[in-house]
């Protein structure tokens, strides 16, 4: 009798957990679904007093208008260039630094570096933008994607470093030692043992740097002067006027397109992030 009651309680708890999870998923998906719905609605439906999820008279006019009014493809190409470059460079720089920090995490220098990394995240954009602008101007990097990429790398690096150091700490030192005992040199150990085990961390870090750069607006607004270089977030604001008045249909259509690369990227590599590549690496 008691056992049956316990099973029932467990099932009820599990059902509650799934329900909560479902509610959370709906909450997370709501803005995206609303964006999807809005992108296909004609102007009259957008101002309908009884808005529905499914457009009654779906249209592609918002997409046509968005492409007609703004250089979305060029902006997407600029965003892609800046984001991919920022992600690759961030990972390349962060990986050896994170490894050193992880392997020497008890040393005062490593602790100080970690502290500095955390503190550096506290500076708001507005505080750093003018000095940064002057530095980039002296380097002739204003109005160039190279300058923007450099800023994105510097901006993402502290958190990427902190994140990757966590992954690196999780790589068992015993595996490296075992490889060394088997005759592998330092470089071989790093390339053949450590790096493959760090792969999920590298992917997650790259994804973080990519999405940070892809969504970033303020630096791009300030640093890029000519329309040919502007990135997607800057172009999206061209659908918004004074006092927040917006051309909602084309804005939703363009925003939906701007969201797609992040979604696709997540869909493709999320397994790499979540899969436990360390499973079975060490005998327990």
């Amino acid at each position: 009798m008691n056992r049956t009651a316990a099973v029932r309680r467990r099932r009820a708890a599990r059902a509650g957990q799934y329900l909560a999870l479902l509610g959370y998923l709906v909450f997370l998906a709501f803005p995206l679904l609303w964006l999807l719905s809005t992108a296909f609605k004609p102007p009259r439906e957008l101002a309908s007093p009884d808005p529905g999820w499914i457009p009654l008279d779906p249209t592609l006019d918002n997409f046509r208008q968005a492409f007609d009014e703004q250089p979305l493809l060029r902006a997407a190409a600029n965003s892609l260039t800046a984001s991919v470059a920022a992600a690759v460079i961030t990972v390349v720089i962060a990986t050896p630094m994170a490894y050193v920090m992880a392997r020497n995490h008890r040393s005062p220098l490593s602790r100080a570096a970690t502290g500095w990394v955390v503190v550096s995240q506290a500076f708001p954009f507005v505080l750093v933008i003018i000095p940064l602008f002057l530095v980039l101007k002296n380097l002739y990097l204003i109005n160039s994607l190279s300058g923007l990429i450099m800023v994105y790398v510097v901006w993402s690096l502290p958190f990427a470093l902190w994140m990757l150091a966590g992954y690196a700490r999780a790589v068992p030192r015993e595996l490296e030692e075992a490889a060394a005992v088997d005759g592998a040199g330092r470089l071989r150990v790093l390339v053949s043992v450590t790096m493959p085990l760090l792969a999920p961390g590298l992917v997650a870090t790259a994804l973080f740097a990519f999405i940070t750069a892809w969504n970033e607006f303020f630096f791009a607004l300030v640093l890029l002067k000519t329309p040919q270089k502007q990135t997607m977030p800057v172009i999206l604001t061209h659908f918004i006027g004074a006092e927040g008045v917006a051309d909602l249909g084309p804005l939703a259509a363009a925003s939906l397109l701007a969201t797609l690369p992040s979604l696709v990227l997540f869909a493709v590599i999320q397994r790499r992030i979540t899969s436990g590549t360390l499973a079975g690496a060490v005998k327990s």
């Binding site: 309908s48 000519t226 008045v245």
Partner: protein
């Protein structure tokens, strides 16, 4: 080694701008425009193309800016010495830039034709400090009441005109008469209540900001200042307290609100989005004692950067860009009113269609919002006035508490800017 250095520099710089360099004596001016609506962007681009076609030695490069973050973007560009030569902005954003020395004083640069075309009260919106003029006010919009004609006729209320507007008391009566069933008389969009409240308060003699002989500004909130906020509080539907202008439109189209007080340019959205057969009309805002229809506005402006090496050329471009016919084209593109008296005579702006004639008839009543020349106004608005007015309109605080907050807390903010 030298080649490698050059190659690295070339890669790093990408395509750095060369606008400061004149090629064969050609001046290249960068014009950052904040036009965003399709017709408006087209009008701007067409005018720039017309200028470039007839002025081969002064080329203007059109750059579309963004209203979002424009203050910070301009401030950074000014500090970095990379500001556009010609800057589109709003009068309420100019004070800090003008006092900061970032904008050129246009006295002596502009032609008499342009200065004479725009009324003195409009020039006052861009005049700061010792009388320097730091921008050309060129587009403005009155706050009007957009009404559902069927609901007004059903309630048998008098339809006001510019010649015979409602008084504030009559407006409150009408709002009450229209409130029945599921319909509210007025849907005030009060997400950002400061500009609307202060702008309309001018009709009852409310100024809020008072400049003393020593040039210092003090905040007062006397009976004349309180008349309009009281009327808004008594007529506002609670459901619109957190709404922006666009947010009220679905309720307006659905008959939930009989009237919505909005900026004149919102007509474009209404034309685009109103259900077929929806009958709407543009009415003047209520008048104060003696039929006073004055409203405080902050026009859109065009300025020239102090750092620009081409200030005279930029002024010539402004003179072309703001010729009466061109100013009217820009106004039509933005669904706003031109400040220029010549442009206001354009027949397209006097058509009764979409309420153009009503707006044009109100143009003479538009005055500089008293807050425009006040340093620290933005902070006063964001940190003190917006939350205080929102609380007042929601009924959380009374008039006396609102008065104290605006004067005492607001005074502390302004004092920092006037030391």
């Amino acid at each position: 080694m030298r080649r490698r250095t050059l190659l690295t520099a070339a890669l790093l710089t990408g395509c750095a701008p060369a606008r400061r360099r004149a090629r064969g004596g050609e001046a290249v001016l960068r014009f950052q425009s904040l036009a965003w609506q399709k017709e408006s962007v087209e009008a701007n681009k067409r005018l720039v193309a017309e200028w470039n076609a007839t002025h081969p030695t002064i080329r203007v490069e059109y750059v579309q800016g963004s209203w979002d973050g424009v203050h910070d973007q301009l401030l950074t560009s000014f500090e970095g010495g990379e500001a556009p030569d010609i800057i589109h902005d709003a009068a309420d954003d100019l004070a800090d830039f003008a006092y900061g020395g970032y904008l050129a004083d246009l006295r002596g640069l502009l032609r008499v034709r342009l200065t004479a075309d725009i009324p003195a009260h409009s020039w006052a919106t861009t005049t700061f400090g010792d009388g320097g003029v730091y921008g050309v006010p060129f587009l403005q919009e009155p706050r009007v009441i957009i009404a559902n004609r069927a609901l007004l006729e059903r309630a048998r209320v008098r339809i006001p005109t510019v010649r015979d507007p409602w008084s504030w008391a009559e407006f409150e009566d009408v709002a009450r008469a229209l409130t029945r069933g599921g319909t509210y008389g007025v849907g005030w969009p009060l997400k950002d209540p400061v500009a609307a409240t202060l702008g309309l308060a001018l009709s009852t003699g409310g100024r809020v900001f008072h400049r003393g002989d020593d040039g210092k500004v003090t905040v007062r909130f006397d009976a004349a200042d309180q008349r309009v906020p009281r009327a808004i509080a008594r007529t506002a539907a609670k459901s619109t307290l957190g709404m922006g202008g666009s947010d009220t439109l679905p309720g307006f189209f659905g008959g939930k609100y009989a009237m919505v007080p909005l900026g004149f340019s919102y007509r474009q959205q209404i034309v685009q989005q109103a259900p077929e057969g929806f009958d709407w009309t543009v009415l003047p805002a209520p008048a104060g004692p003696g039929g006073d229809q004055r409203q405080g506005v902050g026009p859109q402006t065009l300025s020239i950067a102090e750092d620009s090496p081409y200030r005279r050329e930029a002024a010539r471009f402004l003179d072309f860009f703001l010729r009466p016919r061109n100013m009217a084209r820009l106004a039509l593109g933005d669904w706003m009113l031109p400040t220029g008296t010549g442009a206001l005579r354009d027949p397209a702006l006097r058509s009764p269609e979409h309420g153009w004639a009503t707006g044009t008839a109100l143009a003479a009543q538009l005055r500089p919002a008293p807050a425009l020349s006040v340093r620290g106004y933005r902070e006063w608005k964001d940190k003190v006035a917006t939350p205080a007015l929102q609380e007042y309109y929601s009924g959380a605080i009374g008039m006396e508490r609102l008065r104290k907050r605006l004067i005492k807390d607001g005074g502390l903010v302004l004092a920092r800017y006037q030391r």
